[in-house]
Every structure is written in C-alpha cells, then in structure tokens.
C-alpha cells in the first residue's frame, strides 16, 4: 500500500457542530497531523456540494484515505462511502470521526469541546493511516420465505410474497391458521372477523406457492440471510385429509377441556374442529390432552384418524424469515377486578367471541343465563400501569374494540345500559367517529385516573365502585356483567422465538425493530422481518399492512437472487491460530468452526454468518482473529493517538 495521503473534512452540521466546536481550529489542527494532505470544512458535508468537495479533492490531491469529522457513522457513513467510491477509492478507506453525538451535542464549553473534537480527529487520522481496502462478498439467495405465525399479518405477508413469485412456508403452531382475528365477532361495525379471515384463507387455498404447515414450530434456524436452514417440527395432528368433518369422533371423545377458541366460554373435546372455517379443514387431536383411548379411531368411518402418528421434522431452505407470531391476551390474575370469582365477569376477548354468530350463544349477548340490563367495560386492564400486574404500555386496540362492541350491544339491545370506564379514550385517527357514534347510541363513559375501579361481588349482585374524575366523586354502579378490556402481552413463547431466531427484545417484552420510527418491520438482524403484534400492540388493519410491508422488504432483499455481505467481519490469520477454539464458544452467531488444515486445527469463519460483532477477536489469545476494519493495529493506533506511545506494525 502506498504512503497514506489523508484528507480530513470537518462538517459544521449547521450549528449542530459549529455551535459548540470551533470548526476552523479543528481544520487547522488536522492540517498538521501526519499524512494529512488536505483539511477542509463545510456547512453540511453530507449535502451534495459537500460530497463533491471530497470527490474533487481525491482526484486533485491523489488522496487515498478520507476522514470525515461529522455525525455518527450510523447516519452518514454509507453516504460518504458511496461518495469516495464514486471518486474511485475503495469505499472502506473512510473513517468517520463522530464530533457531533460524541462531542458537540453533549458539551457546552466551546473551548474544551473544540479540544475534544481535535482529539477525536487525531484518533481517526491515526486509524485512517492503517485502513485497508476491503471487498464486499456476494452470495446467492433463495427466493423463498418462511413466515412464522398464521394470523392475519402472516397470511397477508405470505399472500404478498407468493404473488410476487416466492415460495412461502406458512408455519403455524396451532391446528389452524387464522389467528385471533378469526375469533373476533366484529372487527369494525360492518365487518365480521371470521368473514375477513375466511376470505384470506380462500386465497391461501388457491395459491400453490404457499405451503401451510400447522401444528408446526420452528425449532432451529441455521444459515444466514438468503440461505437460512430452518428446522421445523410438525407435531402430530392424528387426523388426515380424509376427514369429512362428520363430527362423530367428537361425540365419543371422553376428554373435555376449556375451548381456547371460545376463550374458555365453552368446553371442547380432545378431538375438535377449532372453528367453522378452520384451515386445513380437518379435525385435530390436541396431543397434549388426548388419552389415546382410541374411541375416535374406532368410530371414524373414513379412516381419517391415526393415533400412531408421530412428530415429524422438516428441513427447509429459505431466503428470509418473517416473524408474525402475534401476541397473547393479557391474563388477569384471579380476583383482578373480580376475574374468575363471578361468572358474569369476562374478558373483552370473551365478549367479542360471544358476539360472533358462531359462538356458544349464537351471537346473543347472554351472560350468566340472561341478557344483562347493565354492562360495564373496564379499560386498561393490564395496560398503562393501571393494575398491579399491568404493563406500562397502552395496548392500542382495546378502546376501539370496546367501543365497537358497545355500539353493537346498543344496536341489538337498546334497553341495556352500557358503561365504559376509561382513563383516556384512545380512538386515534378516524376511529374517533366510533367514539362519536357511541355517544349517539347512548353509551355511557366514566373516567377514572390513578384510583382504579373496584368490583364488588355481593349477594345483591355486582357493583363497581369508582372515583369519577370529571365529577370528583365516588360512585357505585350496579351492573349485571363486567367486561375487562384486557390488553396485549408478548406471546408466551417469545423466549423460544428469541433463542431460535436471535431477534431481540425491547424493554416492554415485545420484539425490537431495527428503528422504531423508520424501520418498523425490520429486525436488527438482516434478513429477518417483523409483522403484526410481535413488535407491540396493533389493531387488525395495522397488522395487515405490516404483513404487506414485511413482504416488500423481503422482496427488496431477495429479488436479485443474491445478497451482498459486509466485509467488516472476522478474519483468521491461519499462521497464528492455534486452534484453541475459544472463539467458537464466544461467537453468538455460530459462525466459527474448527477445521483441520494439513493436520493443524484452525478456526474458520463462515463469512456470511459473521455479523461483525468482534467478540472473537477480543477473546483470541494469540491475536490470530482480526476484525477487518477494526484490526488490532488500527485500534491501537487510535488509542495511542490519545494516550501516547508508539505504533508498530
């Protein structure tokens, strides 16, 4: 490599940097640093003229290293890399000196901040002297996708990708796809959840590129973006496609459990059909509760039941993974607002189910044997820190859902008094019209704040005691039924999901997206996308759109049939490596293995798997493992630039 000729470019970022850092002084300082040929300033380096300035200098002064002192590399490193590439330089011969987030934004004293900025630039220049050109790798990519979760978000993503030409595996852990939306009576005043879902399922049925795998779980995900190896366990259903839905098996089955598809409002047998339009349209045996008595097998005339069926493992090669495993409804503890202590206290999901024509009451609002005269919804159960076990977040959908149900109740039972006890009504956007409509339909709203309502179960009946905020009085409301508007929880098995897919989890327990604002459907790991409530509470429409959006990202990633891999990854110096395998143990991405080359044990890095975290190079006792772009030599030069000392290399 020829003698380094470094150009240093200091950005004002308007007043963001120039307000606290004396940019001129930094430029003068930089000019005198070793190997620096030019040093310049500009008001917005990232703007086109700023970039042009660098490009022209590279050509005019034959520069071969560039230092840009500006903002965080996470923002504009790509911009400047592209710029120097256009000027004919290898794009990795760039070093960013972050004098904004690390300096101007966090300091007030202009003089000291300027000194610090100088030091940051000095370090960057020191490192830049040792920068090496790196090359990106390209690998082939599968145009197939694994969609995890067969709710509406997953179904939507699958449909979108299949239409685009991808082969899609839709993996659902329960015996049917459709998710919770299929169980909701009315998702808006005119639309039945079951109808929407069955129309979506109809499309799935007709689409040969979608392979639906129910009773299935992702148990292992190997490989890397574009080339994932997914291991799927398919739990036995014990019923095959010969099933005609005659239902005789159900009658003879001796096992009875609470029916989760009716949110516990009714009971089902161990062999059951989840709901009328379930897909695949066969009965299923719940392997967790079945006692294998064989009664069903005996009675089935179509030989559709095989109790000897075993779990199968399926290995798939896919290019991308879309995680759409949804949420769990909040689980109120026994006694939370009287939950579990009185038959007339139910959850919002149970009520929604009741209002579905396919429900145990055929869509009639019959609670505790009769139509309630007074029914009250309590909002924020499990959300917004309201109850002891509650989450801090707002569950977003419960206000609109409760109001929607209240309107439905008022339409069908005008003599029933409906109360909604709320903290803040969250009918954001156009849903406000529902809130307006509820007033016209004589739904009564009661606001509470810190003091939460109390449910009294007395021989005379149910009462709610609440401190009404807008009249500042304690009031007692006689009610016949109480609906707890429960929020959303991260799915119960999110830990397993994280372990298998290595997505990460935010403070509230849902999966974290790459950027809350601008990358809401991308996981921080390249190649994994997120849809629906797995990233946090959403309503049905938002989940559907997220399904399409995640599909778009997968299309964009894989449409070329190949994937570019960042070269800033670990590299083994085979001469120095002793094959101690410490790196193998510390690698969080299982990217390192030990290979025997000419009888020597040597670490081997699978480039496509390496995420460039640097753990291995830190752990390597011999210095054989080097992180490209962050080699020991480069980092030492950087640290010695601040702390003094010599660099040998």
């Amino acid at each position: 490599m020829s003698e380094p000729r470094i150009g240093v470019y200091v950005c004002h970022c308007g007043f963001n940097i120039a307000g606290t850092v004396d940019v001129k002084k930094v430029v003068e300082f930089a000019k005198n640093l070793p190997n620096v040929v030019v040093a310049k300033e500009y008001v917005f380096m990232c703007s086109e003229p700023g970039q042009d300035l660098i490009k022209e200098d590279i050509k005019a002064n034959n520069l071969n290293r560039i230092v840009v002192a500006a903002c965080s590399p996470s923002l504009h490193e790509v911009t400047f890399r592209t710029a120097i590439k256009e000027a004919g330089l290898n794009k990795y011969l760039l070093e960013m000196a972050n004098i904004r987030e690390h300096c101007s934004w966090v300091h007030h004293d202009k003089e000291k901040a300027t000194e610090k900025a100088k030091e940051i630039v000095r370090m960057a220049v020191a490192k830049a002297r040792y920068l090496e050109p790196l090359e990106e790798l390209e690998v082939g990519a599968e145009t197939s996708a694994l969609v995890l979760g067969g709710g509406i978000a997953g179904i939507r993503a699958a449909l979108e990708l299949a239409n685009y030409g991808f082969h899609v595996y839709l993996v659902e852990k329960s015996p049917t796809i459709g998710g919770k939306a299929a169980l909701i009576g009315y998702i808006d005043p005119q639309t039945k959840g079951a109808e929407v879902v069955s129309k979506m399922i109809d499309k799935i049925k007709e689409c040969p590129r979608i392979q639906v795998l129910t009773n299935a779980e992702l148990i292992q995900l190997g490989g890397f973006v574009g080339n994932y190896n997914a291991k799927i366990r398919i739990n036995p259903r014990f019923v095959n496609e010969r099933c005609t839905l005659c239902g005789e098996c159900e009658e003879v089955c001796p096992v009875e459990v609470a029916n989760e598809y009716n949110f516990g409002l009714s009971r089902r047998k161990a062999i059951f059909l989840p709901f009328a339009n379930a897909y695949p349209p066969y009965y299923a045996i719940d392997y967790r509760v079945c006692v294998k008595c064989g009664e069903c097998e005996k009675v089935c005339r179509f030989r559709a039941i095989n109790l000897k069926e075993e779990a199968k493992i399926l290995e798939l090669k896919v290019g991308t993974l879309i995680v759409a495993t949804g949420y769990d409804p909040y689980r109120p503890f026994k006694g939370e607002y009287g939950y579990g202590l009185h038959p007339n206290i139910l959850t919002l999901f149970q009520l929604e189910r009741l209002l579905d024509p396919d429900s145990p009451t055929k869509g009639e609002l019959i609670i505790g044997g009769k139509i309630p005269k007074n029914i009250a919804f309590i909002q924020c159960v499990g959300s917004r820190n309201t109850t002891p076990g509650a989450k801090e977040y707002c569950s977003r959908m419960c206000c609109t859902t409760a109001i929607n149900s209240a309107i439905k109740i008022k339409e069908r039972y005008p003599n029933t008094n409906v109360y909604i006890l709320y903290k803040d009504i969250m009918t954001y956007g156009s849903d406000e019209t529902l809130y307006e409509e509820a007033g016209k339909k004589l739904v009564n709203f009661i606001k509470f704040e810190e003091k939460i309502p109390k449910v009294l179960i007395t021989p005379e009946g149910l009462f709610i005691e609440v401190f009404e905020y807008t009249i500042q009085e304690n009031i007692r409301i006689p009610v016949d039924a109480i609906v707890l508007s429960i929020g959303m929880l991260p799915p119960r098995d999110i830990e397993e999901l994280i372990a298998v897919t290595r997505v990460s989890c935010g403070g509230e327990g849902f999966v974290r997206e790459a950027h809350l604002k601008l990358a809401p459907v991308e996981a921080p790991t390249k190649g994994i996308f997120l849809a629906g409530c797995i990233t946090g509470p959403k309503n049905i429409l938002e989940s559907i759109r997220m399904g399409s959006a995640a599909a778009a990202k997968a299309m964009a990633l894989l449409s070329k049939g190949k994937i570019t891999i960042e070269p800033m990854i670990a590299q083994v110096n085979e001469e120095k490596c002793s094959g101690c395998a410490i790196c193998v143990g510390v690698c969080p991405y299982s990217a390192i293995s030990i290979k025997t080359v000419n009888g020597d044990r040597i670490a081997h890095v699978e480039k496509a798997l390496c995420m460039g975290c640097g753990t291995c190079s830190a752990a390597c006792p011999s210095g054989a493992m080097q992180h490209l772009g962050f080699k020991d030599l480069q980092l030492l030069a950087q640290t010695r630039a601040v702390f003094g000392g010599e660099v040998h290399g």
């Binding site: 016209k440 709203f445 009661i446 009249i471 009031i475 007692r476 006689p478």
Partner: protein
C-alpha cells in the same frame, strides 16, 4: 343513602328520563368543558354545566338535585354554538331542570306535566278551563250582568274568589316545592355571606350579565321578549296594588290608561313574539326557537297568551264603553287564569322563577359568586 357509605349509588335510568325530557344529546357530550368555559355566567359564577351534564349522564341523583348550575343557566346558547360534539348543552340543561322540577314536586303533578304529551296537557287544561267557564258563565253570570248594568268596571269583587282560591292553592304547592328545592340545593353548602349582601351580589351580577348580553342581537331579542313578559306581569301586579292601596290613581286617566295599555301590550308582545317565531320556520329564526319545542315550553306560552289577549280586550271594550263585552272579557280572563295558576304557574315552566331565585340565593350565600 347507601347506609352511610361514601359511595353514591347511581341510578342507570336517569339519563333515559332526561333524554325523554328533551335532553336528546345528553350522552353525546364527551366532557370537554367548553360549555362552562364559553358561558358568560362562568366568569362571575363558580358553576360547571359540564359537571351537571355528567351527573345526569351517570345518574348521580342527589348531586343532580342539589346542583344549582342548571338553574343558573339563562339560555344564552353560547354553549350550543360552540359544542365540539354538536350536542346542545342548553337543551340538556333545560331537560335537567325539568327533571329537577319533577323531583322537587311532591305531588307528582309536575312529573305528569313534564312527561305527558301536548295533547294530554291541552286536554286537562281545557277541562279545567271548562270548569272555570262554567263558574263564571253559569254560577256568576247573573252577578256579571248586574255589575255590567252599573256601567263601571268593578275589579275586586266576589268574581275574584275562585281565582284567589286557585292562586292560594298554587302558592301552597309552590311554597312546599320551593322549600323542598331549597333543602336539596342548600345541602352541603355552607352560608358564607348574609341575606342582604347575597341579594346585592345577585343584582349586580345580573346587571352586568344582561348588559353584556344585550350587545348580541339574538340574545337581545330573547332578553327583550323575556323582559316584556316580566314587565307585563309586573305592571299588572303594580296596577292591582295601586287599585287596592290608592284607587284615586285611576282618576288620572291618561297615566292610568297608559299604564294599563302598556301592561297588556307588553305581555301580549312578550308572549306572542316567541309564539310566532316558533310556529314559523323562517331561515333567519335563531335555533333557540326551533330547538326548544318541548311541550312544556309550548304550554308556558300557550297558557299565558289568552290571558294577555283578554286583558287587552277588557280595556279596549271598557274604553269603548262596551261594558258587557268588557265583563265578558274579564270573565274569560279569569277563566283562563285558573287553569294557568293551577297547572302552569304551580307546576309548569313558570316555576323556574322560584327555583331560579332559590338557586341564585343559595349560590350567592355559599360564595359561588367570584370577587365577592
């Protein structure tokens, strides 16, 4: 209530009742407080119309009955103009007042009056009227003829006895209901200032309020109508008092005639103007006349109107020396007065003067007026 518990029980049926009493948009209110904030009263008076509406939405009965804010409403209508939900707080408050009047009345007549249809009310009114007519044109007919033959108008005579009885009966109802209203409204409100000071506070408040309202055309129109009715009735009472105390006054013919005619005309115009506006449906008519079409509102005008007409006719006939006709008008006037007193005056919308006075007095006494 509730065995001394600090929790107030709500009555879930109250809101339906108030809706049928004319507060159609009661539950459309989302409690923003715009009505209180835009009301010209609020600056001087610590009341919350929003809270009154919430009490009613929830059915917190004891709070509703003790609330003076519905009675402090003077129907300026600013709240209805600026309600973000398009609810009509002034109508809701009128309905709450009806609900309160029903509850203040112990006889149950107010309940019937406020809940029955216009036809039913007219029917009962007519029945009472027929009875009165029977008294005056049957029982007293000979008397009237003999008075007429004197050529003079003898106002105070036994003809007045039935009216006096009706008046007395209605006063008994009013007094007892007023006492109940006083009890409801003064509960939990400590007296802070004395009686005379209270009156002064109210007077100065009204002066300021009405002066301000006169600046707004549609408000001025209604204030004038209301004032005409008040002045008309007031003048009649004044004339009656003069006749009793100082009959010689009526010898100053020009002045007394002027007074008499202005009394009759003011009343007639005060009642007739809103009646005509309500009956007509001109585009220009303020929504106030179109919205307040509860049968109780109609009855308050319909029962007063013939009285005003007969009073005017009485003096016209008298001045035309058509003494018999004057007496007939007089008898008719008295006949219309009896059902008016027994129904409208004792239980109808006209009771608002009493409840309003009580509410304002209690408010003033409890220090609801700011800056006093």
């Amino acid at each position: 209530m509730n065995g001394g518990s600090e929790f107030i029980s709500v009555n879930p049926d109250v809101n339906r009742t108030v809706i049928t009493l004319g507060g159609k948009s009661l539950l459309e209110c989302y409690q923003c407080g715009s009505c209180t904030a835009v009301c010209p009263l609020s600056e001087a008076l610590d009341v919350s119309f929003r809270r009154a509406i919430r009490y009613t939405q929830l059915g917190v009965e004891e709070k509703i009955l003790g609330d003076i804010s519905p009675w402090s409403c003077n129907l300026h209508g600013d709240c209805t103009d600026s309600c973000p939900r398009g609810a009509s707080p002034s109508e809701i408050l009128a309905a709450i007042r009806r609900y309160q009047s029903i509850k203040y009345d112990w006889t149950g007549i107010a309940k019937w009056w406020n809940n029955s249809s216009l036809m039913a009310k007219l029917f009962v009114y007519s029945a009472l009227l027929a009875l009165s007519l029977l008294i005056f044109f049957g029982y007293y007919w000979q008397k009237i003829l003999s008075y007429a033959s004197t050529g003079k108008l003898v106002v105070f005579s036994e003809l007045l006895i039935p009216v006096a009885v009706a008046f007395f009966v209605s006063l008994v109802f009013l007094a007892s209901n007023g006492y109940r209203a006083y009890k409801f409204m003064s509960k939990d409100k400590k007296a802070k200032i004395g009686f005379i000071k209270s009156l002064r506070v109210i007077a100065s408040f009204f002066m300021k309020l009405e002066t301000e309202a006169m600046g707004v055309p549609h408000k001025r129109e209604r204030i004038l109508e209301h004032a005409l009715i008040l002045i008309g009735i007031g003048l009649f009472i004044l004339l009656g008092a003069l006749y009793l105390i100082y009959p010689k006054f009526f010898d100053y013919e020009v002045i007394s005639r002027a007074l008499i005619y202005s009394a009759s005309l003011t009343l007639l115009i005060g009642v007739g103007s809103p009646l005509i506006k309500r009956l007509g449906s001109s585009e220009k008519t303020h929504w106030y006349y179109k919205r307040f079409t509860h049968s109780v509102d109609w009855m308050s005008l319909l029962t007063l109107f013939p009285i005003a007409v007969m009073a005017l006719l009485l003096f016209i006939f008298y001045d035309l020396s058509m003494i018999l006709y004057a007496y007939i008008a007089f008898a008719l006037l008295l006949s219309f007065l009896i059902p008016f007193l027994l129904l409208e005056f004792a239980f109808g919308k006209h009771t608002h003067w009493l409840y309003k006075v009580i509410a304002y007095y209690i408010g003033a006494r409890a220090g609801y007026f700011r800056g006093e």
